[in-house]
């Protein structure tokens, strides 16, 4: 048996084992915040699980070499895929904690089996004292290599997803060459070899695509540090901070980036405000981050702003989280502000007060429950609550990415009996974004734009209602409670871009 190869094996195994631990720990602190807690619980859990693995090794009596290769392959699979899978569970489910500690325990246990099994395989080749000293020193050497390379090389160059996949490949490689190295001790090396090859291919494919995965999750989703993450019964709320400011994500969808949110909120609010007959009583539906309210409160005539958002977690964050409160100009604690945590549809049905301006800022219609908020049924309720010379505005998804969806919203508002004025603005974080201004009848212009805007002036405003051909009007059905065509349009259109 070739000793050098064996020693290399030990180093690789040791490096891989530590890398998985670091990957999981980094991922946890990255997604959940509070890195001290995350790192210490992950490392503690992992070491404990390794202990379990070492203990369990005594129950393996026969076919130790065979088991060793199998363990290598299992570690390669689970360790290699741990980062992408954990990312997925985080974005798609509420089970992140379960998945996190589950993988810590399982991977730790498997890694804990490796060295004891290897020691037993080698016990006939070497004297006991040489065996222990060489294997253990190489093990610690591997750990050192991993912990140095991880922050300096691996994360910056590869990112977490590809790091975990790369070490999975190395682990699978160990499994593969062990089938030669330990051939005399293996019953049927061929089957193991085939498995190892298949696994390597899988991980290599993952690694190549991992580039996209990484961009998807890390560059687009959370390119920056997570500074707040919480789950409310309604959604997952994540706040990140980076060089260019901070961003809010709800269920993984970007709500705003502080660097360019003004390019979204100024066009959302001001066209309605300057064209409404009065602006004394303003209603904001959605918009729990308080940013639309900030724009509304620029007008001294405003006497009350009612903000209706389903989720107390988000309005609470906007009120109490310092940086967010600073960004929204402390709008949430303004004396004119009334925050109502309620279902917007029920709020409109149950009350009677009319509002001079209504800002409708709901998430995009990507499911039936949200789709309801874009139907003639909803807009008729809205119409009843808009004063005779009032103006409302509806955020209407992107006329570029979801062109038919945008024009469907416009057609639906028309069908509900509104005068409509569609327009759009470029928000770099989102792309081209669309709005529809509505009123009972075509409104005039009643007041100037407030001072201090960064994006809108009258000339820009006029240009916003020009649509280039690739975003221009197109036929679309009216979205009703009993057909929900918009959800279908929306799904089909966004699928093309993702």
């Amino acid at each position: 048996m070739n000793k050098t190869l064996l020693y290399i094996t030990v180093i690789v195994i040791a490096t891989c084992g530590l890398v998985y631990e670091l990957v999981v720990g980094a991922l946890a602190s990255y997604l959940l915040g509070d890195s001290i807690t995350q790192f210490s619980t992950v490392i503690g859990g992992y070491l404990f699980a390794m202990g379990i693995g070492s203990y369990l090794s005594r129950y393996i009596d026969k076919g130790v070499a065979q088991r060793f290769v199998e363990v290598e392959l299992a570690v390669a699979l689970l360790g290699g895929l741990c980062a992408p899978l954990l990312f997925l569970t985080f974005t798609l489910t509420d089970l992140f904690h379960v998945a996190l500690y589950g993988s810590v325990i399982v991977i730790g246990t498997l890694v804990g089996l490796e060295i004891p099994l290897l020691l037993r395989i080698l016990k006939d080749q070497l004297k006991f004292k040489d065996l222990v000293s060489q294997v253990l020193s190489l093990d610690y050497l591997g750990a050192l290599a991993a912990s140095v390379a991880f922050p300096l090389l691996l994360v910056p160059k590869l990112g977490l997803v590809r790091t975990s996949l790369l070490f999975g490949i190395l682990n699978a490689g160990v499994g593969l060459w062990s089938t030669w190295l330990l051939a005399p001790l293996l019953g049927n090396p061929l089957r193991l070899r085939v498995k190892a090859v298949l696994l390597t291919v899988l991980l290599v494919v993952g690694f190549v695509l991992g580039d996209r995965l990484t961009t998807f999750y890390e560059d687009q989703l959370y390119a920056d540090d997570v500074v707040h993450a919480s789950s409310s019964p309604y959604q997952r709320i994540v706040l990140t901070r980076g060089k260019r400011g901070f961003s809010l994500f709800l269920n993984g969808n970007l709500q705003f980036a502080s660097i360019d949110e003004y390019r979204y909120h100024e066009p959302l609010v001001h066209p309605a405000m300057i064209r409404a007959g009065k602006v004394e009583h303003v209603l904001i539906l959605g918009g729990g981050d308080g940013l639309a309210a900030r724009e509304v409160l620029r007008y001294p005539e405003v006497r009350s702003v009612t903000l209706v958002d389903l989720d107390p977690a988000i309005t609470g964050l906007a009120t109490r989280y310092d940086e967010l409160a600073r960004l929204n100009g402390h709008s949430m604690t303004d004396g004119r502000m009334r925050v109502v945590n309620a279902d917007a549809m029920r709020f409109l049905t149950e009350g009677t007060q009319r509002y001079d301006v209504v800002v409708v800022d709901f998430p995009d219609p990507n499911n039936f429950a949200l789709g309801k908020l874009y139907t003639t049924g909803f807009y008729k309720l809205l119409k009843k609550r808009l004063s005779p010379d009032g103006v409302a505005v509806v955020q209407s998804t992107s006329p570029l990415f979801a062109r038919q969806s945008f024009w469907c919203v416009e057609a639906t508002l028309k069908a509900a009996g509104f005068w409509t004025q569609p327009y759009h603005a470029l928000v770099p974080s989102f792309g081209e974004w669309g709005y529809v201004l509505v009123a009972h009848e075509a409104p005039g212009f009643h007041r100037p734009l407030p001072e201090g805007l960064r994006f809108l002036d009258m000339a820009t405003l006029e240009a916003l209602s020009q649509f280039p051909p690739d975003m221009g009007p197109m036929p679309a059905e009216v979205n009703r409670l009993n057909n929900q065509v918009l959800v279908h349009y929306y799904e089909a259109e966004w699928r093309r871009w993702n």
Binding site: M345, R346, F368, A369, G377, N482
Partner: protein, 545 residues
């Protein structure tokens, strides 16, 4: 004979449900609080239990309506519309509505029977009049067809189907359908569209709502002689999925499988509520309480005090000047009697035959032709909507492999964005076996614990973990829920004979006179009986029919 849990489930819901539910059975849970809420057995016994006491004092009234279901309330509504003041409705239950009754708890209102009304296609007739009175008609479109308030039409998603662990959109099982299956479906749809468009020489629709307006040309009525299953075979339809869909339709509307439903009635289901373009122009109207909302509208149109609840009429004796009606206070057992110039008897035939005094002596010849399917309806209150795999929760949620019809979500029609709160599911089981008497006994013999086991066994495969969400279960057994349009019945002589007034003072109304158990039929016969009363009372009023 004691059945095991699994045998019980197999006996009521079929072996497929038994297999998958029992596989998933977890550790025994605390029983779900609830009860069987009907009084079916108790009141039936009273009627058949020998001579009942008669009251000394007789209350005079111009028109007495016996039965506060849709037919009886529609009759009273019609009479009110003609200005007849002295009208009294007696209803044996504590609530009006009959098989369209509804209930309510802290979470939601919910139906105990009928839950939807197909939106009328034409702007005429008493049903549209009623809908207009309640503000449900939004307007008329360019073709003069009525349109309805959007929030009353079933919201999307409206229907889904559970099959082997997964929910799919719609009621036809498309997944795994072969090209032959789909071709048959298309051919079937085309046939039904043609039936929907068919008119006779007088311009009458071949299949109309209500059935009374349908053509009586033999070209179509001949279809009444054979069963829907026979018609499918005759026309070369072999697809199991299509057969399932047709069976589902027959069970849903008539409580019987296609072998026991006349082809005329089976086709009526697919052809009468659409205009021949295949699309129902507006779809279904529904409310959280189902057609209980229509019942409420009818009842609220009547003057206060017009309806007496908990009054069981047991003997109707026609005389020279009118009818004497003897009744019992269902709570106290005290006898009551009415002397009415006109009576509308708005209860089903199997009761009428017991109640009308001359028929007690001589059993009417038509009685044997009427048969009724038993149904069981359960309302299950959940702490949150059931979790499911595949297509999301819809209004109507159907299990492909069960004999139940699945469930309807009572809170579906509420105008709200947040759908996570507690809800009520209304679960329907037509007892569609061939021998209705045996089915009735089976339904009545099962205990609350049995029903709890059955309902949960039906739901669990589609919603693992639902037992933990269950807060309350109430079960209503309808011994004679729906008249069955068996072959030969709808166009046979018995049905028409039974609809004839008995003398000049006693008129009949009930959905069973139309041969189909539906709101439109009950309403039609109620209005029609009332108009006979108006003629007898010499009150002039233009017909609403």
């Amino acid at each position: 004979m004691e059945l095991t849990r699994r045998e019980l489930v197999a006996a009521f819901l079929g072996s497929a449900v038994a297999a998958s539910a029992c596989k998933r059975e977890s550790a025994p849970r605390a029983p779900i609080p609830g009860a069987v809420v009907d009084r079916a057995v108790e009141l039936g016994h009273r009627l058949r239990g020998g001579p009942l006491p008669r009251a000394e004092a007789v209350e005079p009234v111009d028109v007495l309506v016996v039965g506060g279901g849709v037919a009886g309330l529609s009759a009273a509504w019609r009479l009110k519309g003609a200005g007849v003041k002295d009208v009294r409705v007696v209803e044996l239950e504590a609530e009006v509505g009959g098989t369209s009754r509804s209930g309510r708890n802290a979470v939601s209102a919910f139906p105990w029977g009928a839950h939807y009304l197909p939106a009328p296609l034409e702007d005429r007739g008493p049903v549209v009049r009623l809908l207009r009175e309640m503000g449900a008609v939004a307007g008329v479109d360019a073709q003069g067809l009525p349109t309805f308030e959007e929030e009353l039409l079933i919201q999307e998603p409206d229907e889904r189907l559970f099959y082997q662990g997964h929910w799919y959109e719609g009621l036809y099982l498309r997944v795994g359908a072969t090209p032959e299956d789909l071709a048959e479906l298309a051919r079937f749809d085309a046939r039904m569209n043609a039936f929907a468009a068919a008119r006779d020489a007088k311009g009458r629709k071949a299949f109309a709502v209500p059935t009374a307006l349908s053509s009586d040309d033999a070209e179509w009525t001949a279809l009444d002689a054979l069963s829907m299953a026979e018609w499918l075979t005759r026309e070369g339809f072999r697809s199991a999925r299509l057969k399932w869909l047709v069976d589902y339709a027959c069970r849903d509307d008539y409580g019987a499988v296609s072998e026991h439903v006349s082809a005329w009635a089976g086709i009526w289901y697919f052809a009468a509520r659409q205009n021949g373009q295949g699309e129902r122009s507006e779809g279904f109207l529904s409310w959280p309480e189902g057609n209980g909302r229509l019942v409420q509208q009818l009842a609220s149109s009547l003057p206060p005090g017009a309806v007496s609840r908990d009054v069981l009429a047991h003997t109707v004796t026609p005389g020279e000047q009118g009818c004497r009606v003897d009744a019992l206070d269902a709570r106290t057992g005290q006898p009551r009697a009415f002397q009415a110039r006109q009576v509308v008897l708005a209860c089903p035939r199997f009761i009428a035959a017991h109640v009308v005094e001359p028929w007690r002596r001589e059993r009417p010849s038509w009685l044997g032709a009427f048969s009724y399917a038993p149904w069981v309806v359960a309302n299950l209150t959940l702490s949150s909507p059931p979790a499911s795999r595949g297509f999301p929760l819809a209004w109507d949620n159907v299990f492909y492999e069960s004999r139940s019809l699945g469930y309807v979500v009572a809170t579906h029609q509420l105008l709200r964005q947040d759908e996570r709160g507690p809800t009520v599911l209304t679960w329907y089981l037509p007892m569609a076996g061939a021998d209705v008497k045996a089915e009735r006994e089976k339904a009545l013999s099962a205990s609350y614990a049995d029903w709890e086991a059955l309902v949960m066994a039906d739901l669990r495969p589609a919603h693992p973990g639902i037992s933990a969400q269950a807060q309350r279960l109430e079960v209503q057994r309808w011994g004679h829920a729906m008249v069955r349009p068996t072959p030969g019945f709808v166009w046979g002589p018995e049905r028409r004979a039974a609809a004839q007034s008995l003398g000049r003072h006693l008129h009949f109304a009930h959905t069973d006179l139309g041969g189909l158990a539906l709101f439109e039929e009950a309403n039609w016969f109620g209005v029609k009986a009332a108009e006979r009363v108006l003629a007898e009372l010499d009150v002039r009023s233009e017909s609403w029919l």
